[in-house]
Amino acid sequence: MKQEQRSTKFGKYGGQFVPEVLMPVLEELTEEYEKYKDDPVFNEELDYYLRDFAGRPSPLYYAKQLSREYGVKIYLKREDLVHGGAHKLNNTLGQALLTRYMGKKRIIAETGAGQHGTACAMAGAAFGITTEVYMGAKDTVRQRMNVYRMELMGTKVIPVKSGSQTLKDAINEAMRNWVANVETTHYLIGSVVGPHPYPTMVRDFQSVIGKEVRKQIMEKEGRFPDSIVACTGGGSNAMGIFHPFIDDDVDLFAVEAGGSGMKTTDKEALHSATLCAGEDGVLHGARTKVLQNKYGQILESSSIAAGLDYAGVGPELAYLADIGRIKPRYSLDAEALEAFHDLCRLEGIIPALESSHAVAYVKKAAGSGELGDVVVINISGRGDKDLETVLGMNK
């Protein structure tokens, strides 16, 4: 594993498949990241913001009632309590701080439902860095509140009117802007995707989750858990909690969105389960598993959880799945909804629909023994943002 981290690849996955204009800036970013990632001053400042601004460490909560109901001992890693309501801020704080250390003056990002955009806006405001977020014009209407949230924090939200006016167009537009402003601007990617060094860097910034779990579970159980379960869209909350356990005897379950079923047509997938059902391809700068048709056209993915609704996945996850170190699984929309309700009712915790996929898989698998006796579920975010979706489904 160690060796891979030096190169731009994880086995055959990863790499840098980007327009020439961006290659130098990726080189620069790689160098700067390597320079600061073990720098004590950088890390002290980051730790400070993670603690005092983001509210870390997040608790590891023993979910007594849920454990009883599901028949396995369940701990919840409470990323829902992080400032902004999700794990996303761990990464945006890291990259925003790096932006400052690199002497860049501006952050751009793309966002779908607005979670990553909001986390960027928070980090941008905290560090006083100009922040601009590209968002599909349709998404800006659907997620009006998140747009407003970002704007309140001084972030400029740029509605992208090309194409389908959704996430994919926002990515294109952010890329174009980056190409035109590489010298001054850092492109803040929100998951363990994209070209090297992003998958490594984002994983490292999110690893604070798993590092905390190591300490916390030892305090509570005197041993490591038998398994860790995390929902997987791009894969940042999963890699964040998995990575510190990668060399340990702990089973790691990456739960993807099974959507309304594991079927695809020529244009779209009814799910977003890239590790489970994708094929090797190159998307957004990296070789990885991709949902694509026989020609290599990327499929529209689908999930009740906006944050999981992505046709790619982090290259490191593709690699770890290939070598059998992580176990790709999926939960369907309906299963995630049911788990969402379980956690609300039994524990008084409203999880994000994304995180509910992880909970749902535990519900499904607890009986089989596959998870062992002690499971940690990463509750990657809170579900207040999802109430309208859940409300709609229930009617």
Binding site: G15, Q16, F17, V18, P19, E20, V21, M23, P24, V25, E27, S162, G163, K168, I171, N172, E173, M175, R176, V179, A180, V182, E279, D280, G281, V282, L283, H284, G285, R287, V290, Q292, K294, Y295, G296, Q297, I298
Partner: protein
């Protein structure tokens, strides 16, 4: 016709190349055939024929829209190669597409299909030199040029690597900013042209839309001019397309020919 042959021919006439991009299948495969003919009539020396990909991150909004029209109309790699084979043009054709379509088809099969259908070169905007080893080998084996891009930001060490690997022509990304920004053309572009030290012809693209700009590029030392969005805009209008494509090609070629040394 192979690309180097075309550049040799133009060199003899002391003339720069007009390289025209359109997207195959935009708005239909039949339309594309007609438009290629029009461009050739107008004086295009090389045609870049985009093979549309669902997530064209390296393209601007105009070309992205063309790609979406082509995909909506059902363009696929299979149809693409069939259509190219049926084209009756005597100038080099270049396929421009994203790496995933090549990767998915299988690198070898893709290159062989190019060769069999009469394509002379391949441009993959999201494939930097570092990742291109296998494709470059196959291209060499099949007598296809693999064309690389260089940008003003390209470092010296990467520049060397690219120039070693690239054949056919070198695609210089002008980053003109707003169309017609003269000072920009004169500045960063001519500087880039100077920096690219190679015997392979250099063609400059991105943001060129009229004869005067084309002339300036050639005057600055380029061997060719690449024009895409301006043609795709005409196609998007759906209005008197073949005639207007031909006219624009003619204007550009005229600018190229008249460019002061």
């Amino acid at each position: 016709m192979r690309i180097p042959e075309k550049f040799r021919e133009l060199k003899k006439r002391n003339e720069g190349a007009l390289i025209a991009y359109i997207c195959a299948g935009d708005p239909t495969a039949e339309g594309t055939k007609e438009y290629v003919t029009a461009l050739v009539r107008g004086g295009a020396d090389i045609i870049e024929l985009g093979l549309p990909f669902s997530d064209p991150v390296a393209d601007g909004p105009t070309i992205q829209a063309g790609i979406e029209r082509a995909l909506a109309a059902g363009m696929t790699p299979d149809i693409y190669f069939k259509m190219v084979r049926s084209l009756k043009v005597h100038i080099p054709l270049v396929v421009m597409t994203y790496y995933n379509l090549i990767f998915k088809r299988g690198l070898e099969r893709f290159v062989v299909d190019c060769s069999a259908s009469g394509i002379s070169g391949i441009i993959v905007p999201d494939l930097p030199a570092e990742e291109s080893g296998e494709l470059a080998g196959l291209c060499e084996k099949n007598d296809i040029d693999l064309i690389f891009l260089v940008a003003p930001t390209t470092t010296e060490s990467r520049m060397k690597q690219i120039l070693t690997r690239g054949t056919g022509f070198i695609y210089l990304v002008a980053r003109l900013g707003v169309t017609g920004a003269r000072s920009d053309i004169a500045g960063s572009t001519s500087e880039l042209i100077q920096r690219v030290k190679t015997n392979t012809p250099k063609a400059v693209g991105f943001g060129i839309s009229n004869g005067r700009q084309a002339a300036e590029i050639i005057s600055a030392g380029a061997d060719g001019v690449i024009v895409g969005s301006a043609f795709v805009d005409i196609i998007a209008s759906g209005n008197d397309v073949p005639r207007r494509l031909e006219a624009l090609a003619r204007e550009l070629k005229y600018g190229i020919k008249m460019a002061p040394e």
